[in-house]
Amino acid sequence: MIYRESGQYKTSYSADMAVFPLRQDRIGIFVIIALAYSMAFFGSNFMLQAVLIPFLIFSLAAMGLNLMVGYAGLLSLGTGAFMGVGAYACYKLMTIFPGVNVIVWILASGFFSAAIGVFFGLPSLRIKGFYLAVATLAAQFFLQWSFNRIPWLYNYNVSGAIEAPLRTLFGVPIVGPTATPEVRYVIVLTLVIFLTWIASNIVHGRVGRQWMAIRDMDIAAELMGIKLLQTKLLAFAVSSYYCGVAGAMMVFLWYGGAEYNVFNINQSFLILFMVIIGGLGSLIGSFLGAGLIFMLPIAMGIVLPAIFGPLGIRVGAETIEHLRFMILGALIIFFLIVEPHGLARLWQIAKQKLRVWPFPY
């Protein structure tokens, strides 16, 4: 309906292969980004701190996992741990080299989780599917343990936790207790946009194709000269990098501090669910999934009391938590059955409908 494709023709391959070949899409994405930035000025502290910042960070983590599960078809249950690696790496780097700008370290911390990811990815040569999942569980538990039991990682704090020290950019505090949500939001947003752009370059290029190839038909892929191990390990590396960066951002740009059990297996599952519900093999899906699952409890916290309050039934926080688990579980099953490609597919369908409007196809 809003699409006016007539008159949009491509005279070069680069134009034809663009991520957003349609003008309307380009405008749309631009508007969204503009709005996102404007939130820094119009968004309330609650909005930024409790909704947008975490949403973006989870989206990034989900994107990372999606690169692995959705694109390369490698199931991982260790996301939380890989995020942890990023967080702790970043913490160490920040404290060892306080001179260097923290944003550099946030981005650099990803490389450490990438390395760890590759290591735990090695079995993927021999094993697939849930075997691999178990292997990643090993990573999950081992790493979580080391966050707890290796004091060096948290500089021997008595608390055993890591806190974000004060760091500034052009004199403006961006990390630490005095950093305002606005500033942190802008940084998070910028980083997420940047990394999303990179991710889309990857998945739309040769590497992305190779990942999807081994996902869809690994035998054929290998017979076409795609080296399975290399390709899979690359997926592990990139995915873990994104999760690592997300982890670092989570601790230093959102929580302001964390303990080892922040990165427990439930974190891993939460993010996996974001990917499944958002849509395997779709970057947009990562955002949609993160949005839905992260917003769910917030929405329930607001909606349910509003409904049941008047009826004299008080809905406690824990009840909401329980309901959330049930709904999550139900959602997963629902999506796997009804739309295995998740919200992203629904999004696509909607888009397609708009393109062929008023025709059904």
Binding site: S200, G205, A213, G225
Partner: protein
Amino acid sequence: MSANTTSAHSFATDAEIEKAARAEAAGAVPVAATDPEVLLAVENVSLSFGGVKALADVSFDIRKGEIRAIIGPNGAGKTSMLNCINGFYHPTEGRITFKGETRRKMRPYEAAAGGIARTFQNVALFKGMSTLDNIMAGRSLKMKRGFFWQILGFGPAVAEEVEHRRFVEDIIDFLQIQAIRKTPVGKLPYGLQKRVELGRALAMEPELLLLDEPMAGMNLEEKEDMSRFILDVNQHFGTTIALIEHDMGVVMDLSDRVVVLEYGRKIADGTPSVVKSDQKVIDAYLGVPH
């Protein structure tokens, strides 16, 4: 049944005309003769899973530029043979020499790098991807730009993409699948999927192209198109082709030489006419209506 055989015949005849016509144009000499050089040699290859012997002491060769058919009843070990050739299985005995070099335990991607491409009996496309991406994936080996160029949305990696896109478009044009360029292959009818798979194999610019029943489950027109494409590939890109096919009509028209397998053993080898008249083959295969 009768319909089937007749169709095979009618098809046979006009494809024969085709071949003849082209032979004239080409200068009347059968292709195989022009280049006797051997591209791939299979020597005493045996293959067994546990107790089961899939191949027993099979030897034959494929010459540069020829179309070589591998036929035989179901379970004769044809597909296993292909799997050995492109390194998916490793022969328990015997050796396979490709371009003069013998590799023990050749990995599939090594075979691919060496110039062996392959299509599958039951289409093995990347279901989640578009026709274009499937064929582009076939270019993987040729794309050299490193990962760090990839992550930039511009520069050499993109230039490379474009360059290979151009190549792929030629294939799309060649196979006349422009109309489905951007359709997810999962949505395509079987015949077209087979065509796309051929395209994906061609994208590798192979020296040896292995086709596993390229026309299985196709109707007559589709078969005619497909065999025309196969001939064109062989003629224009000089690609050597080894194909497994059940439709005897097709085999007899397309192939320069035929090797016949039965129960993992080779029972005949030679030009279609020779094979056709071989008693063992007639008993084992042609006699059996299919």
